[in-house]
Subunit: 456 residues, 2 copies
């Protein structure tokens, strides 16, 4: 298999192929738990579409797989190296090729960092709406691969809703363009939608045309502390019933508040056992925030007064509520979504499970779209693997998935299936639906060299 690496070194420029131990280790995994650690044969850094095409052609027919990678911030293992693969890091393809203020669109290479695109757009009063927690480091290409969500989705949509067109290198090295430069376009099948969220298993996205939205003129943030999670979740429904569409509606449980206090020295726990953070934006932001405050007060919350600086600081804290932790075998973050009306029931079920099995739990939720991130963990017992505790952890994880599905939910709201969630996919999608996806995969990638063992 060394021959493919030799070939890549021959066709690419010096420094574009790294087979050194440091690089191999660094690029072997993303931020998800690892269930089958593999080192890649090499890490390859294309700098152009032609480079990507050359790499794909070099691998085709050799059995060497290609794992495309953005910033490696994924949390489902979509960018974990697999057996006999190269990792194709698109980080050097980081140019904003066009930014058209009147068209409200941009064309970018896949390695452009989300925040960099947003900074460039902000100069024109525009924004790229999808804002995963990783937006300061994650790339548009990675966001496209996972159809990333974020905090603002309930109002502004997920990545799919902002992607108009993609350039894709297919498994045979050919390049296609799908979609349209216009906001609307219905010519032919929605191939763009098929590539978005396909986690690099159908092709390598080498260019993305996105729609930009308007930077809101005004932003108001409301922080509401509650004595328990149940009342906070009821607040989410109350805001919905008032028919106010917040840009952000985040729900944090007591465990999350305690952790934030630990890290940042804040006093959140002293103020409540649950926190609902709501941000309204646009021309109606002030009026919407007032309705939100009234509704939440009526529901028993302690609500911040009209000055929203503190609440905004809390939103920033929330964005970092993953902290510096990376999931591992002792600590797993989930990404289920349930219909909004089931938020309360679902969190009650999680609490019961965690308590039954003696597993720690904290929960944050993008409550506006019913998307929950429970994190389960067990204590480390001095470095040695505690097989019994691990079994408890896995039992809770499985039960949390089963419960979400039973409530009409999904196993992944925005993180993607990757490698780690594959074990649960069959519970959500029956065999005929999975078989269709396998056949689509086969159609695009008959040799199975594009990120095998992921997504479907």
């Amino acid at each position: 298999m060394g021959s493919v690496v030799d070939e890549l070194e021959r066709i690419l420029a010096p420094g574009q192929v790294d087979a050194g131990e440091v690089a191999l280790r660094r690029y072997a995994v993303d931020q998800a738990p690892v269930i089958d650690f593999q080192l890649p044969l090499a890490v390859v850094f294309p700098e152009s579409v032609a480079d990507v095409q050359a790499v794909v052609r070099a691998c085709a027919g050799t059995g060497v797989a290609i794992v495309a990678r953005g910033a490696g911030t994924g949390v489902s293992g979509g960018a974990h190296a697999t057996k006999n693969c190269i990792v194709l890091s698109l980080e050097r393809m980081d140019r904003i090729l066009a930014l058209n203020p009147d068209d409200e669109t941009a064309v970018v290479e896949p390695g452009v960092v989300n925040a960099v695109l947003n900074d460039a757009a902000a100069a024109h009063g525009l924004m790229y709406a999808p804002d995963p927690a990783s937006f300061r480091t994650s790339t548009i290409g990675g966001n496209v691969a996972t159809n990333a969500g974020g905090l603002r989705c309930a109002k502004y949509g997920v990545t799919r809703d902002s992607v108009l067109a993609v350039d894709v290198v297919l498994a045979d090295g050919s390049l296609i363009h799908t979609g349209h430069q216009t906001f609307k376009g219905v010519a032919g099948y929605d191939l763009t939608g098929l590539f978005v969220g396909s986690e690099g298993t159908l092709g390598i996205v080498v260019g993305v045309t996105v729609r930009l939205k308007y930077l809101p003129r005004d932003v108001h943030t409301v922080a509401a502390f509650y004595p328990d999670f149940r009342q906070a979740a009821a607040g989410v429904l109350a805001v919905g019933r008032a028919r106010v569409q917040p840009a952000i509606m985040e729900l944090l449980d007591g465990g999350t508040l305690a952790q934030l206090d630990d890290i940042h020295g804040s006093d959140l726990t002293a103020r409540g056992r649950s926190l609902l953070l709501i941000q309204t934006d646009g021309f109606g932001a002030a009026a919407e925030a007032q309705v939100v405050r009234d509704v939440l007060l009526a529901g028993g919350a302690a609500v911040t007064t009209e000055a929203s600086e503190e609440a905004e600081r809390l939103v920033e804290l929330r964005r970092h509520s993953r902290g510096v932790e990376v999931d591992d075998e002792y600590r797993v973050g989930e990404d289920v979504a349930v219909p909004r009306s089931r938020l309360v029931d679902y969190v009650a079920a999680l609490d019961a499970m965690a308590s039954d099995h003696g597993v720690h739990l904290k929960v944050v939720a993008h409550a506006g779209d019913g998307n929950l991130h429970p994190t389960f963990w067990i204590d480390r017992t001095g470095g040695s693997v505690d097989a019994v505790a691990l079994k408890r952890l896995h039992r809770v994880l499985d039960e949390s998935i089963t419960a979400a599905l039973a409530m009409g939910g999904t196993i992944t709201g925005e993180h993607g299936v990757g490698q780690y969630k594959l074990r649960w996919l069959g519970q959500e999608q029956p065999e005929p639906v999975r078989e269709i996806q396998r056949r689509i995969k086969e159609l695009f990638d008959p040799e199975g060299i594009l990120n095998p063992g992921k997504a479907i």
Copy 2:
């Protein structure tokens, strides 16, 4: 081929299969120009998912094609009968199966009329956002088949953006469910997106789960008359530069105003040669409308004062600006979209073409998303076909498409390719992209019985 009809009459209830001349003629075409008139063998009216499955199974293996049909309001010929087909009218499957106000979702059969769903949602302060001009008669199933747009798309998105899940009867009669009941969900490939807009060529959509949005609390409408179209189009960009996102932004040219005056006895033409209609909605509607007025006044418009009743009446007129006309061989409405910054250039190009070839032209545009509906027509010469005039008409049509594509546009923003626009699809999509779609079609429908000769 009579045997399939006999079989259908045997397996369905009396009144569900109509092979009478009146029905065959009535269901042979939708509202698009007809280029290859065919009568179906029968019109079939399923009343349940099981009925649809039975019909598909009866046709499978016989070579009889199935043309699924909603209300027949399509304007691209997606529901035109083809040789040796039955028309499957889903109009009797018209139940709203669930409407969940707290989840802000609804589950409907495909025959539910768009306006009926909106009325039901309005009782809860909700709306189904996509609003094609045909919304009072067209069905959700038909809207899904064409990925229908409408007036509110620039702010609220197209049909795809409101569809969370679909139930689909496949070409072998089996039933699958794709998507999720939650707002977000990224498990597996986006099969839902693949079915939306596929015009009945990949499967028969028999159930749709949609996301509902909030009925706006406040609506303000501004009407701005301009001395010419160019200035009006500049107004569209000026509103964009003010970073106001209207719910509706419609642009009407002089020909359209004259026609509305003819039909409704209004005096629009006396007031300007072009009209820009802008509706803002939500909590910030009043403030947004004020910015819009200021910006348009500065651009030379005659703007209605703050009372917006008259402007709202104009929006209603606009919704009916197709009038009672149905396209035919002498009169063809287009549906191109161009990047917003090219609106002015594109309309200037249309004017020049129409004038060069002696063809009549009027234009309305969903200007917020650069989607134009030019209508070209030639005078009828006392019933006889004027081959020379027809040739002129077709030359203009072809040129209008070529010009839109040259500006980075698409041949269809929201109507679909159907049968009528197939001739231009190759100009927008190169052969490799079309071949992928053919192979996807083959994967879903190996016998080619689902609406053959349409969409791709």
